[in-house]
């Protein structure tokens, strides 16, 4: 009897011992079956998702803001989605998502892709990731004047990165682009799978080199007010080195008319919004198109004579406003990072600024033509008529012609740049009167009806709440009407 009991006890306790030994393995459970371990990351996997994130935000929420402030369209009086933006009534929480995703969905992946590409000597993806990182960060720096850069992307190693001023960021990014261009990204060709991962140029390294150069040109031109000498030196260095610029559009043009695979501006403003008619034709832009008989009016607003709303007049009960034309968007619209037209317009400006205008007219004409071609149109007689380059004009007249044409080329694909360029150059001009006035000059930007900034225009965004509430190094708030470091 006693032995039976002892055997039983033995059973139990050997069981316990076994249990202890066996269950030691439980920490293996920590490998998440739903995700890939981080050491499986490759530049090819990270790059396309980061590009879509850049496209999704710089050409999503930020673009809508830029487009309203460039006065292509305005808030419908019958809906309310963008009322605050249209009234310059900006909150710190407004762009939280776009800011957050630009950092964590785009930039952090570019940085990781750069790091991996460098480690494996994949200089092609290194160039791609560097250019896209520079493009994305440059836009953020332009929006906020200061953003974290030198101490950013360090994860737990630095939870409170300091903000760098825009100029330092520009210098850093230009150096990064130069370093990437100095590597051997030309030899060999990408496999077809790798080329597919390049959702911008499908593996054309020539285009990436051009994109890099054109982006440098854009950044130098942005410095003309604040750092004129450096801007000039930078642009001249490009020309001295016979840098090739974009002759095609750098962007994403693979969107489909399917939920979750569409143009991000369309997806958030049309497909997924309960009111699809928030953005209506602004009198500012339409009056200019109308005055010039510009055929693009149909592409932008669906009619040769669209009804309009005066900028920011969304509280009006004007019955005609109900019929104001809705800004035309398609699920398959491309997203532009730098358009072909923009490339020509920038080159024209550079020629005017530093080379006495040599070749500027041809570049201007090419720009206008490319801008029309975006909509399957041709400028025709406009190039010799209303839009003719003021060859005999002053520099300012020429600059105005270039910038106004550039402004007219951006809606829907690259809206943010219209507002940036206005802040850099002052064009299109600001109207002293509201667009209802008889003395209003078509195309001049007006102070919106419900504006809350005492007649001043926005020049920047407020530092986002999502950063300020988590990073004590966020600088003190600066009103949106204060110019950025490169502003006019």
């Amino acid at each position: 009897m006693k032995t039976m009991k002892s055997i039983r006890i033995l059973y139990l306790f050997s069981g316990i011992a076994l249990l202890l030994a066996g269950c030691k393995k439980i920490t293996d459970f920590n490998n998440d079956p739903n995700t890939l371990p981080v050491d499986k990351a490759t530049p090819q996997l990270l790059f396309p998702s980061a590009v879509m994130s850049t496209a999704g935000h710089i050409h999503g929420e930020y673009a809508i803001t830029g487009g309203l402030w460039a006065q292509y369209y305005t808030q419908s009086a019958l809906a309310s989605q963008y009322r605050t933006l249209d009234a310059f009534n900006v909150n710190t929480t407004d762009m939280n998502l776009a800011y957050r995703e630009s950092y964590i969905g785009a930039l952090n992946d570019y940085v990781k892709a750069q790091e991996l590409a460098t480690a494996e000597g994949n200089w092609k993806f290194n160039l791609m990731a560097t250019v896209m990182k520079a493009y994305t960060l440059q836009v953020l720096a332009d929006l906020y004047d200061m953003v974290p850069y030198s101490e950013a992307f360090k994860g737990q190693a630095n939870l409170q990165p300091k903000f760098d001023d825009g100029y330092s960021i520009y210098k850093g990014l230009l150096a990064e682009i130069d370093a990437a261009l100095a590597k051997d990204y030309k030899s060999g060709t990408l496999s077809s799978a790798d080329a597919k991962a390049d959702v911008v140029f499908n593996g054309s390294m020539d285009n990436w080199e051009r994109f890099a150069n054109t982006l440098k040109l854009k950044m130098y031109l942005r410095m003309v007010n604040a750092k004129p000498a450096e801007a000039e030196a930078g642009v001249k260095a490009l020309y001295t080195a016979n840098a090739k610029f974009l002759e095609t559009t750098a962007g994403v043009d693979i969107f489909k008319d399917e939920p979750n695979f569409s143009n991000p501006f369309f997806e958030q403003n049309i497909r997924k919004l309960n009111t699809t008619t928030n953005l209506r034709a602004s009198e500012t832009f339409v009056s200019w198109l109308r005055a010039n008989n510009d055929p693009r009016i149909v592409a932008y607003f669906g009619s040769t004579n669209p009804g309009t709303i005066h900028q920011g007049d969304f509280t009006s009960t004007n019955p005609a406003y109900g019929a104001a034309a809705v800004f035309v968007q398609h699920a398959t619209d491309p997203v532009y990072f730098i358009s072909e037209a923009e490339s020509y317009f920038m080159q024209a400006e550079a020629r005017e600024r530093y080379y006495g205008g040599a070749g500027a007219k041809a570049l201007y004409d090419a720009g206008v033509t490319a801008a029309f071609e975006q909509h399957g149109l041709a400028p025709g007689a406009l190039l010799t008529g209303a839009y003719a380059y003021p060859v005999a004009g002053t520099f300012q007249q020429k600059l105005e012609a270039i910038i106004v044409q550039k402004w007219a080329s951006f809606p829907g694909s690259h809206d943010l740049e219209g507002w940036f360029e206005k802040n850099r150059t002052g064009y299109p001009r600001t109207s002293p009167v509201y667009s209802t006035s008889a003395s209003y000059v078509p195309g001049q930007l007006v102070y919106p009806k419900n504006g809350v900034t005492n007649g001043l225009f926005p020049k920047r965004l407020l530092f986002p709440d999502i950063e300020r509430s988590r990073n004590s190094n966020t600088p003190a708030e600066v009103p949106i009407t204060v110019k950025t470091w490169w502003g006019l």
């Binding site: 202890l20 995700t35 939870l159 695979f261 009960t317």
Partner: protein
């Protein structure tokens, strides 16, 4: 000894089966085998149980000291399992042999023993006595302990108390009755979830729900189809369905199957349960069969429900906007209601409807019908001295008060339990199968452009338009094309054309084997299993206003309604949990003075889930809800998780002279969710119970019972799975509305996960001290139980938000310190106790104060959740869950700064404080009157203080239906005490008196955040105080003579009322503050997002025992 050999073999078989945990990878292979083995084993146990002894029939009657028969007293044969209960007349019948000792016991009476003599009749009179002295409480790991030896607070509820209101889920009858517990229904819809918070919130994100333990084995409590399981889930992805509440799985238990519920709140009480018990433990003991004749219990109830609190609307102004009439507006910002007949709605075929421009009384209420809930349970039980069994079948059918059966709940529960005993060997088995089917009408805000949800449409009806008329939703004036407004949809369309369904099959049970090796030592092996397979399906129909119709833009405002493309989402959610333990239990009287009780053991628990969602958006053929019917191919998401805890535990209680008891507990856990370096953690606890009335002889008629308690303990808690390592995952770019998904056009795209892993993660540790006492006076006529506790939770494991510029959005950190301290008081008074009449009062009071005393470096706040600009935050030195939102800017004199152009307040740069989510205190009051066979009970539940965000309020203010929107009769006004800011050329700021009025046209903008951001939140964030008449029951026990006519022993008929009456403060005449569609944890404290009304019900039940 063939049998003994057999039993030994069984023990080893059980062990083998139990030990399968040593190789987790083989678990899936073993899963089926396990089940089969369990069933075989149980069958064997039942067969061996059929052993009878030489016995005869003994009859008897049990009465109290006054000769009143005692119903339901337990009569058992000492040393055997034979037992029975007395009937309504106090009579019992039992099989016993001469010389056997009968033990007669009943709650509230001294146990009585009588030896069976030669006669067949045994009459017993029981002495009433102190309940606490004999009360047995099931404590940690299923071990029963006498309550007097416990050094911590417990609350126990018996079957009858739990079931008095014929509840569908276990806590429906206990709201407001447990000190220290916050129990709420969150959606109020049939089968909806129950939230249970014990002693306040102590965890920021890791979950604050208690652990449910059924017969010693943890029960899986999850919300299939309603919670977001993946930490990286994206709301747009189709994984999250916050607008749906398909219930929590703890509610799968049939309340009729429960013998008792014990609620353990403090660390000293719960620490032995390990990591999952840090929020308290709900111990459920199920009913078992008793030896004696076959017993049949039938319980049936029918309960009918109507909506409770509905929003109070303004009655003065009708349809329109900006002070003008618009036939196509979704709000009441129009002219004054004048009762004059007016054309309204869409113009269809050149005709329009006509109705008086007048307020429609009970407009929302009339929308609802009567909900019906039928709840039936049949229980068969019986047994002999060696073995008992119990079988029960429960059926609940509940069709809620919305029209249609789209709010519906059906549950079938089958339970089979048995015990058998042979010499020192005891085997118990419990097997439960639950089949559940549910339909839920979406609340909250549904995916825009896909399809509408129901209640938010209701809130957008102008107060002069009768909602109920629209039930004919295909009528030409009410259909998609011509519904009166393009800004909302016909709610009946959403009710009839959209829907959801959840189905679930669940098996849970356990086998418990014990062998008494020596008189003082028992060995125990117990294995539990809990498997749920559920599927959910959501669908929304496709529709668009016809070209040229009212809602396609041909209305006075020219506004077009967006098409709904429709969708279908199929979900499969599988959950499993295995729990096993091996214990040794010791019970020993060391000498005259000292006793020793204790146990030690080892436990292994593994649980996991496998969740797959597949969905399509944009239906190819409207009205066909299948995953194949998409314009685009279906997309899928998958989430799998697995976690395990192994624990080694021990407990010892030393008793001294029956008045002093010291208990020491210790446990060490090894958790799979922590990094290897810190996956082992140890936590001890101790408690003391001191029975003053046993030490000093006192006059029992004055002080009948006095006990002091003290305890100190720690609990450890692990992380949710997969917080340790970094990862990359397939990218979904979230846009403000919608996403961009990968793979995109055949290109895969991965992104670094937004959440940084943390290899330094440590377990969360809570430390809690508690003191208290239990006192009874005047022969137990007055008594109270009081507890004070102080709990500090440290090193919270939290996916902390970090600055996006770090490259990541969150990191899982140990941080923070949260302190909860509070007082729990329960008191009972019996003002009247005579032979026929008794009046009992039970009162509970709870006051919990929590405070965030530490946040990680550099942070002074942490946002828990938020909507629009309202945020629920954790802030340093403030209670957990404080509301911050925009406030008006003020000048140095406190005057409100107003925009000189608009007249609207300017929002200050910093958000302002709006209150916190925690209650000032809660109170419960239960009154019970008995008169002969009648029993009347009613209970109040009062919860004072705290604020919540109401989106119902927000939407009603936007639409001008809210009762507050008639401020100043909607006439122009200037905000009193307001100023304008003037900045001169030198940047100097001065303030001048504001003279800009809010004109009639802009009254609506006053009540909308886009235009009046700084002002509006004071009306959206509201006081969440309430007083509810939780239940009223009137029971009548039929006289035995009547019962006997149908050969029944006992028949009780009860009239039931639940939540019949609610009082809300003046500030909130809009929504039941208990409701929430933000889950049932701390985020639910944020408030509600257009959640519908909660039910108010009345009905009757019958309980018959044969």
């Amino acid at each position: 000894m063939p049998f003994q050999l057999q039993s030994a073999l069984k023990v080893s078989a059980l062990l083998q089966f139990y030990l399968s945990c040593v190789s987790p990878e083989t678990i899936t292979q073993l899963k089926n085998m396990k089940m089969r083995k369990s069933i075989l084993l149980f069958m064997a146990l039942l067969i061996t149980a059929v052993i009878w002894a030489q016995q005869r029939t003994i009859k008897g009657k049990v009465t109290d000291a006054k000769g009143v028969p005692i119903t339901g007293a337990t009569v058992s044969v000492k040393g055997q399992t034979a037992a029975t209960q007395t009937d309504a007349q106090g009579n019992f019948v039992i099989q016993a042999a001469q010389g056997n000792v009968l033990v007669i016991s009943n709650v509230g009476y001294a146990e009585h023993e009588v030896t069976v003599g030669a006669g067949d009749q045994v009459n017993v009179s029981l002495q009433q006595r102190n309940a606490e002295l004999s009360e047995v409480v099931v404590t940690a790991l299923g071990v029963s302990r006498e309550k007097r030896t416990l050094g911590y607070a417990t609350s126990t509820f018996k079957n009858e108390e739990i079931n008095r209101v014929a509840p569908v889920s276990i806590f429906d009858g206990l709201q407001g009755k447990v000190a220290g517990a916050d129990i709420s229904n969150v959606s109020g819809s049939p089968g909806g979830s129950t939230k249970v918070i014990l002693r306040g919130y102590s965890s920021l994100v890791n979950g604050n729900q208690p652990l449910y333990v059924v017969d010693g084995v943890p029960l899986s409590d999850v919300r299939p189809g309603s919670d977001i399981y993946s930490p990286d889930a994206n709301a747009n992805k189709g994984t999250a369905t916050p607008g749906y509440d398909f219930g929590n799985t703890a509610n799968d238990i049939n309340p009729n199957d429960i013998e008792s519920i014990s609620i353990l709140k403090g660390a000293a009480a719960t620490s032995l349960y390990g990591s999952r018990a840090a929020n308290g433990v709900i111990i459920i003991t199920t009913r078992k069969g008793r030896s004696g004749k076959l017993r049949v219990d039938v319980t049936s109830s029918a309960v009918f429900s109507k909506p409770g609190i509905l929003p109070r609307l303004q009655k003065l102004f009708g349809q329109g906007w900006d002070g003008r009439f618009w036939a196509s507006e979704n709000g009441s910002w129009g002219p004054k209601l004048d009762g004059v007949d007016r054309l309204w709605g869409a113009t269809v075929d050149n005709s329009q409807l006509i109705k008086p421009f007048a307020f429609v009384e009970d407009n929302v209420r009339n929308l609802y019908e009567t909900g019906r809930e039928y709840n039936n349970t049949l229980t068969l039980s019986g047994g002999n001295e060696a073995s008992t069994f119990l079988f029960s079948y429960g059926n609940v059918v509940n069709d809620g008060f919305l029209p249609t059966d789209n709010d519906f709940y059906r549950r079938n529960t089958f339970s089979l339990r048995g015990t058998t005993r042979y010499k020192g060997f005891t085997a118990e088995g419990s097997f439960n199968y639950v089949n559940r089917s549910q339909r839920f009408v979406e609340n909250g805000q549904s995916a825009s452009g896909v399809g509408g949800s129901f209640y938010e449409q209701v809130l957008q009806f102008p107060v002069d338009i009768p909602i109920r008329d629209f039930r004919d939703y295909k009528n030409k004036f009410f259909n998609v094309d011509n519904f009166f407004t393009p800004f909302a949809e016909n709610p009946y369309y959403n009710l009839y054309e959209n829907g959801s369904r959840a189905k679930s099959d669940r098996f849970y049970g356990n086998i418990n084997l014990q062998y008494k090796l020596f008189n003082w030592l028992t060995l125990q092996v117990q294995q539990g299993i809990d498997v749920t397979n559920s599927t959910t399906k959501l669908w929304r129909n496709k529709n668009a206003p016809k070209e040229g119709s009212w809602n396609a833009g041909f209305n006075p405002e020219g506004a077009a309604r967006q098409a709904n493309v429709g969708n279908v989402q199929e979900g499969s959610q599988k959950f499993y949990e295995y729990d096993g333990k091996v214990s040794a239990l010791v019970k020993h009287r060391l000498n005259e003075r000292f006793t020793l009780d204790g146990f030690a053991g080892l436990t292994y628990n593994e649980r996991g889930s496998n969740i797959l969602y597949s969905y399509i958006e944009d239906l190819a053929v409207p009205g066909f809800f299948d995953i194949s019917n998409g314009v685009n191919p279906p997309q899928s998401t998958h989430f799998e998780s697995k976690q395990a805890i192994m624990g080694l535990y021990g407990s010892a209680t030393i008793g001294y002279n029956d008045y002093l008891y010291l208990t020491l507990n210790a446990r060490n856990d090894w958790s799979s969710t922590l990094p290897k370096e810190s996956f082992s953690y140890f936590y001890p606890s101790a408690n003391v119970s001191f029975l003053l009335t046993n030490l000093w002889s006192v006059d029992k008629s004055k002080v009948s019972y006095a006990k002091l308690r003290a305890s100190y303990g720690r609990t450890g808690k692990d992380a949710t799975p997969y917080q340790v390592l970094d990862a990359i995952l397939s990218q979904q770019v979230p846009l403000p509305f919608g996403t961009i998904n990968f793979p995109f056009n055949g290109v895969p795209g991965y992104t670094l996960r937004d959440r940084l892993g943390n290899r330094q993660l440590q377990p969360e540790i809570s430390t809690e001290a508690e003191i208290g006492g239990e006192f009874k006076f005047l022969n137990d006529r007055i008594g109270f139980d009081i507890a004070y506790y102080h709990k500090v939770s440290e090193g919270q494991i939290i996916p902390t938000f970090i600055a996006p510029s770090t490259g990541y959005n969150t990191i899982t950190l140990n941080f923070g310190k949260i302190r909860n301290r509070g007082i729990e008081l329960s008191a009972m008074i019996t003002p009247v106790r005579t032979r026929d009449i008794t009046w009992d009062i039970n009162y509970t009071f709870t006051r919990n104060r929590n405070l965030v005393t530490e946040l990680p470096s550099g942070l002074n706040k942490f946002q828990l959740t938020g909507i629009f600009d309202a945020k629920l935050e954790a802030r340093l030195n403030q209670p957990l869950g404080v509301f911050y939102a925009p406030v008006p800017k003020t000048d140095s004199a406190g005057r409100i700064v107003v925009d000189a152009t608009t007249g609207f307040p300017v929002a200050a740069a910093e958000d302002g404080f709006y209150g916190d989510a925690q209650r000032d205190y809660t109170m419960g009051l239960v009154n019970t009157f008995t008169y002969k066979n009648f029993r009347l009970g009613f209970s109040f539940d009062y919860r004072k203080g705290g604020v919540f965000y109401s989106s119902t309020s927000e939407l009603l203010m936007f639409t001008g239906n809210h009762y507050k929107t008639t401020y100043n009769n909607r006439q122009p006004f200037i905000l009193p005490n307001s100023v304008n800011e003037v900045v001169d050329g030198n940047g100097k700021v001065t303030y001048v008196e504001n003279t800009t009025p809010i004109d009639e046209e802009h009254q609506d903008d006053w009540w909308y955040a886009n235009s009046n951001r700084g002002w509006i939140y004071q009306h959206r964030i509201m006081d969440k105080t309430f007083l509810k008449l939780r239940d009223v029951t009137l029971s009548y026990t039929l006289p035995a003579s009547v019962a006997n006519k149908i050969r029944a022993e006992r028949i009780v008929v009860t009239l039931i009322g639940r939540n019949l009456w609610t009082w809300l403060p003046k500030d909130n005449q809009i929504v039941d503050p208990e409701s929430s569609n933000f889950g049932r944890d701390i985020l639910s404290e944020f408030g509600e997002f257009r959640v519908g009304p909660m039910p108010r019900s009345f009905g009757a039940s019958v309980r018959v025992s044969f």
